[in-house]
């Protein structure tokens, strides 16, 4: 049984501009110990999906539908108390901006200890010892000093390590990371990516890594799901995704990203901008920007097609470009539910 199963997840926000369909029928599975990158640009629904896994969306003006099953329990059917138990024990989260996620008026030590006291049956002394161990685990060079520091007194990289320590405090099985390195300098990003990869291996953690950066996904993930306008448009093992991108959006993203040694060649941008989520087109949401667009793309949303083992794409052109869909069972850890297609 997979650690996490998401089936036909939808999140809609009721706003002044109308009903915004931020996440629109997302389905995937994640096995224990696997690292999945949720890739997408701003507004693609990747962070909203992540928050829905923790049941963090409030009820006011938000409609969440579909199933999010963590270790056999549907997050959307749990009461708030049970959800908190889940957040403390099984799933935890690392945010993009450690300065806003940490409380400025408490020391790092106090914040780790509080997390432990809240979720674990420990006395204060034991919690303090555990806090120190956690900072060792995330390789903070002088843990005692870090414990006694307030968030503004330590560097950005150190703050992100402290955030990860808090997230690991209750020994989760699934770590959700929302752009954890985006606010960091590139040399510090390399350290944090390396640390997360190391922790994931050593602790057997499953990780969902939300990122807009193909390079970051290539560094850390076993598989990637590419999101566009609230849907997963392509999903594949990470090497396969880079070697054989099947969705025109993924291809476009790869061509538009500046790489080393591209000097002198014009970049191939994706024209236009992502659609308004309050007024999605009836067909494929990427059709207005797609270089391969056809009549059928505008008329009806595409189904999910198999490109290869564990490789799926939501594009009308897949059968023609990549051959007939194969029918063998998908053995890869992460896969997109075919029944959940629109």
């Amino acid at each position: 049984m997979s650690l996490l199963t998401v089936r036909d997840l939808s999140v809609e926000f009721d706003t002044r501009d109308g009903l915004v369909r931020a996440v629109n029928g997302v389905s995937f599975d994640l096995d224990a110990g696997q690292a999945l990158a949720l890739l997408g640009e701003s507004g693609s629904g990747k962070s909203v999906t992540l928050r829905a896994i923790l049941g963090l969306h409030g009820h006011a003006r938000t409609r969440v539908a579909g199933e999010v099953v963590v270790k056999g329990r549907d997050v959307n059917r749990l009461d708030e108390r049970a959800r908190q138990g889940l957040r403390g024990g099984v799933v935890s989260m690392v945010f993009q901006e450690p300065m806003t996620a940490l409380d400025p008026v408490y020391t790092i030590g106090a914040q780790i200890v509080e997390t432990l006291l809240q979720h674990r049956d420990l006395d204060r002394d034991a919690a303090r010892r555990r806090a120190r161990e956690l900072l060792d685990l995330v390789q903070v060079p002088s843990p005692e000093r870090c414990l006694a520091s307030y968030p503004h007194e330590i560097s950005g990289g150190m703050r992100q390590r402290a955030m990860i320590a808090i997230a690991l405090a209750c020994e989760p099985e699934l770590l959700l990371a929302d752009e954890p390195t985006t606010a960091l300098d590139v040399t510090v990003q390399a350290q944090i990516l390396w640390l997360l990869r190391d922790l994931q291996k050593r602790l057997g953690l499953a990780v969902i890594f939300v990122t807009h950066d193909l390079g970051v996904a290539a560094e850390i993930a076993d598989a990637a799901a590419v999101m566009y306008a609230g849907r997963i448009v392509e999903q594949a093992p990470i090497r396969e995704l880079f070697q054989r991108p099947a969705h025109p959006y993924t291809e476009g993203l790869m061509q538009a990203t500046v790489r080393r040694g591209q000097k002198g060649q014009a970049l191939v941008p994706i024209p236009g901008a992502p659609p308004n989520l309050a007024a999605l087109p009836p067909g494929c949401a990427f059709a207005p920007r797609c270089a391969r667009v056809r009549d059928e793309c505008v008329a009806a949303p595409p189904a999910v097609h198999t490109v290869g083992p564990g490789h799926l794409a939501r594009c009308h052109l897949v059968p023609e470009r990549f051959g007939r869909p194969r029918t063998e069972p998908l053995s890869i850890a992460v896969n997109l539910d075919q029944g959940g297609s629109a």
């Binding site: 640009e41 390399a190 350290q191 807009h212 950066d213 500046v258 790489r259 970049l267």
Partner: protein, 337 residues
């Protein structure tokens, strides 16, 4: 692709310095100085793109503001087309700023939310004395050139545009004055990758079309390598290496430049970063390390790196590095020449 730079620089910066005081306490006494830019020199030749790369706190954005005298330098000289910019009067400075324009990182924060984008672009022309009707006409033409049809977008407000469109407005606003030099401070960093490519292509087209000279500031080494002919690498307020983009990419000399290249994700799952190339965060510019400022994170640090700071010295044609590892090399070069 980059035209061979003619040897008369358009912009000459020598020994530029800016230290910001930190004040506190009852009497607002200065208790420390942020050494944002410390003895920075470089030249920019007509029609080239000079890239300036470095991490947060390296002084690259302060440098952009110093060059245009939006922030007054403490020391150093800036010559633009041979003219001493720091000696210019207020009236002359206004003239000079027509020729040197700045594009900021945050395309939303740098636009007035109460002006339609047509008015925003026309505004700089009005400031410089263009009659209203002519200003509007030129603004509309400029918007069209950056890919925003003035009939569709001219009357819209900044909040009605996407990030990429707003950055196009900022570029139009800078270019409508027909400047010679454009200083771009992280112009694509706030944009999604697919939109980044659109704006980078637009900037390249405009540069060729109008024989513009760019100073392009970014923390993204891939972008810097892509757009620049020559590159200046900064660390904690100082230049640690400068050279052609090709020379830096092929054979980076300074341990910091090497680390920057090694830390950049490869976009290849089979070539992941094996070990983080550097430990720790960049130190604070308030109290930078003595001697070479990079020595606290440098794998090759030697005892005398803490002494006198290393000076920029030549390690090849148009390639300078400030590091004691290469001083011996530079000395040999000097003798054999």
């Amino acid at each position: 692709m980059t035209p061979a730079p003619s040897r008369t620089p358009l912009l000459e910066v020598r020994g530029l310095r800016k230290h910001f005081p930190l004040r506190g306490g009852l009497l607002q006494r200065t208790y420390a100085w942020v050494r944002a830019v410390d003895d920075v020199s470089f030249d920019v030749y007509p029609a080239e793109t000079l890239g300036i790369v470095g991490e947060s706190g390296c002084g690259k954005s302060t440098l952009a503001r110093l060059v245009l005298r939006l922030v007054e330098p403490d020391a150093g000289t800036i010559r633009f087309g041979g003219e001493d910019v720091r000696g210019a009067t207020r009236a002359r400075m206004k003239q000079l700023r027509r020729d040197m324009q700045l594009v900021f990182q945050d395309p939303y924060a740098s636009l007035n939310p109460r002006l339609t984008i047509e008015d925003a672009v026309a505004f700089s022309l009005l400031v410089h004395g263009t009659p209203r009707g002519a200003a509007r006409q030129r603004a509309r033409a400029m918007l069209g050139r950056v890919g925003l049809d003035p009939r569709l977008y001219g009357r819209r407000y900044p909040h009605e545009l996407s990030g990429g469109q707003r950055q196009r407005v900022n570029i139009a606003r800078a270019l409508v004055l027909d400047p010679k030099l454009l200083v771009l401070d992280e112009p694509v960093s706030a944009l999604d990758k697919s939109v980044q490519a659109q704006v980078l292509n637009l900037l390249q087209e405009l540069k060729a079309e109008r024989a513009l000279t760019y100073v392009f500031i970014s923390h993204d080494l891939n972008v810097i390598e892509y757009v620049s002919g020559r590159v200046v690498v900064m660390y904690l307020g100082q230049v640690v290496e400068s050279g052609t983009a090709d020379a830096l990419a092929d054979a980076p000399k300074h341990p910091y430049t090497q680390a920057l290249f090694a830390a950049a994700p490869t976009m290849d799952p089979d070539r992941r970063i094996e070990r983080p190339p550097l430990a720790g965060d960049p130190p604070n510019a308030i109290d930078p390390p003595s001697g070479c400022r990079f020595r606290t994170r440098c794998a090759f640090a030697m005892p005398h790196c803490a002494g006198a700071p290393p000076r920029l010295s030549s390690v090849g044609a148009d390639h300078d590095v400030a590091c004691y590892l290469y001083e011996a090399h530079a000395a040999v070069e000097a003798v054999t020449r």
